[in-house]
């Protein structure tokens, strides 16, 4: 197997720059993931926060995420292609983006609705009693308290997007999945390995980034305790 590791290392060294090199694919991969998560958050958060505040939409939210989780990401990517072609957006970036966007929405939406609605009613009531407007309550009370759950949803979404962006290579896009698909087609195993490894590292980095973000955005008193919560929200990262 020593030949394999040597080949893998050679592959990395040969691809440290240039067209189709690691930096280019890495940047593309990060770009589409970041773009998707930011856009999905911008769209999902306001509506979800308001729904959570009103105490509506919980059942629908749970139903949506259950179905969303059940649709294989491979299917979503495959389905996005005829859609983008039919509307003239072609292949490559757009079907990949469309599929990733569809994948990113449910965790953000559900976690936000659930998190905001679970804020203690008595807190909300007393705030109302003190004369705060509905949107003030949402912003200054519910949002900070729900932040851990909301961020958990965005984090799930981000890791899922990073991992699934690999499939974009199947519809003519680039990103790190290019190494996996091209490597498989030419039976170049070191290439497949490096592709997979880079995505895995990127996903781990994303997790770490969000840990850091949580530390910054969540006041100390609200952070989760040591005994981790069971995995009801764990990402389906593929």
């Amino acid at each position: 197997m020593s030949g394999f590791w040597a080949d893998a290392w050679t592959f990395v060294l040969d691809n440290l720059s240039g067209d189709g090199g690691i930096p280019e694919l890495l940047v593309d991969h990060i770009r589409i993931s970041a773009f998707t998560v930011v856009l999905a958050s911008s769209i999902a958060l306001p509506g979800a926060m308001w729904l959570g505040h009103r105490g509506r939409g919980l059942a629908a939210a749970v139903a949506v995420v259950n179905i969303g989780r059940a649709i294989p990401s491979f299917a979503i990517v495959a389905l996005a292609l005829p859609v983008t072609i039919a509307i003239g957006l072609g292949l490559g970036f757009w079907p990949t983006f469309l599929a990733l966007f569809a994948l990113a929405l449910p965790p953000i939406f559900v976690n936000t609705v659930t998190g905001v609605s679970e804020v203690d009613d008595s807190l909300v009531e007393s705030a109302r009693g003190m004369g705060l407007t509905e949107s003030q309550i949402l912003r200054t009370i519910e949002l900070p308290i729900a932040m851990p759950v909301i961020l958990s949803g965005v984090r799930l979404s981000a890791v899922q997007v990073v991992a699934t962006a690999t499939l974009g290579a199947l519809v003519g896009w680039g990103g790190l999945g290019r190494y996996v698909v091209d490597g498989f087609a030419t039976q170049n195993n070191p290439k497949v390995f490096i592709g997979g490894l880079l995505v895995a590292l990127l996903a781990i980095t994303t997790e770490i980034f969000f840990s850091f973000l949580e530390r910054v955005l969540i006041p100390k008193g609200l952070r989760k305790g040591k005994k981790g919560e069971p995995s009801h929200e764990r990402a389906e990262a593929h």
């Binding site: 072609g90 091209d182 030419t186 039976q187």
Partner: protein, 292 residues
């Protein structure tokens, strides 16, 4: 219990009479493997159904992938029969440049496969060559009829093909070397919908397609004037395990159907698969009914 006894008796008789070759009931299941595109699946189905009609138990591992995956599977015995293309089998499979003549290629292929325990049968008249295609508008704009004419475009051309094209000498390297073209490559698929969509959508200007799989009237197949592509007649390639088990019957059956497969047949069948969305199995059955 009675059934078991009679089967056992039958087996004993078979072994006693049959000598070395096994009966179709207790021999290994034959596995046909096809490449990752429709035409290969159809031919694979033809082989499978032809053998089944003679009483063999056959499975078809459909659209496995490119030769880089299929060839090792054939040699290891994971699959037993592959409908190969004689020129590419030599070039891509063994890194040997084919002379261009189908029969010569076939003989060379047979020689190279012998130590690997694989036999090569007879050529079909039909072939399917890698072809380079452009949109009609592009061809009109630059007055293109042959691949050499592409040099007249005078700039980098956007080219799309299967991911393995970068490694294949007659693909990207051939266009750049033999034809001296300046190309920017995008990995898509093997002459499939991704390539077609990219071409019609303008994302690529030059695409790789299979000569028998182009149905769009707005697409122009460029003439291979420098004969970059060798003869690509269909030829069954078979792992000897099956021949040892069942004898020369296999060769007879496969050659019988293969020798009737023409290029026109391939194009017609591909159209039914790609445009009419019919099943490879049905298309193969119809062809066998007409040509059996």
């Amino acid at each position: 219990m009675k059934l078991f006894a009679s089967l056992a008796a039958l087996a004993l008789v078979a072994v006693a009479c049959g000598g070395g070759t096994e009966t179709k009931e207790d021999g290994p299941t034959i596995v046909v493997g096809s490449f990752g595109f429709g035409e290969s699946e159809i031919i694979g189905e033809i082989y499978r159904q032809a053998l089944e009609a003679e009483g063999y138990t056959v499975e078809h591992n459909v659209q496995i992938g490119p030769r880089e995956i299929v060839k090792p599977a054939l040699e290891s015995g994971e699959i037993h029969i592959v409908p190969e293309y004689v020129g590419s089998a030599l070039e891509v499979g063994f890194g040997v440049t084919p002379s261009g003549d189908g029969e010569a290629s076939r003989d060379q292929l047979e020689e190279l496969y012998e130590p690997l325990g694989v036999s090569v049968f007879g050529l079909a008249p039909g072939e399917d060559k890698n072809t380079y295609i452009v949109m009609k508008a592009f061809a009109d704009q630059y007055d293109l009829e042959s691949i050499s004419d592409l040099a007249g475009v005078g700039r980098t051309i956007e080219f799309g093909g299967p991911p393995e094209c970068t490694e294949r000498p007659r693909c990207l390297a051939g266009l750049q070397g033999t034809y001296g073209l300046d190309l920017n490559f995008t990995a898509l698929d093997a002459g499939g919908p991704l390539t077609m969509a990219a071409l019609t959508g303008g994302e690529i200007e030059l695409g790789l397609a299979f000569s028998t799989f182009v149905f769009n009237p707005d697409v122009v197949l460029l003439v291979d004037d420098l004969l970059l592509q060798p003869d690509e007649n269909i030829v069954p390639v078979v792992n000897n395990v099956i021949i040892d088990a069942y004898g020369s019957d296999i060769e007879k059956i496969l050659n019988a159907v293969n020798s009737k497969l023409t290029t026109a047949d391939l194009a017609a069948m591909n159209k039914r698969f790609g445009v009419d969305k019919e099943d490879a199995a049905d298309i193969a059955a119809d062809w066998l009914a007409d040509n059996g």
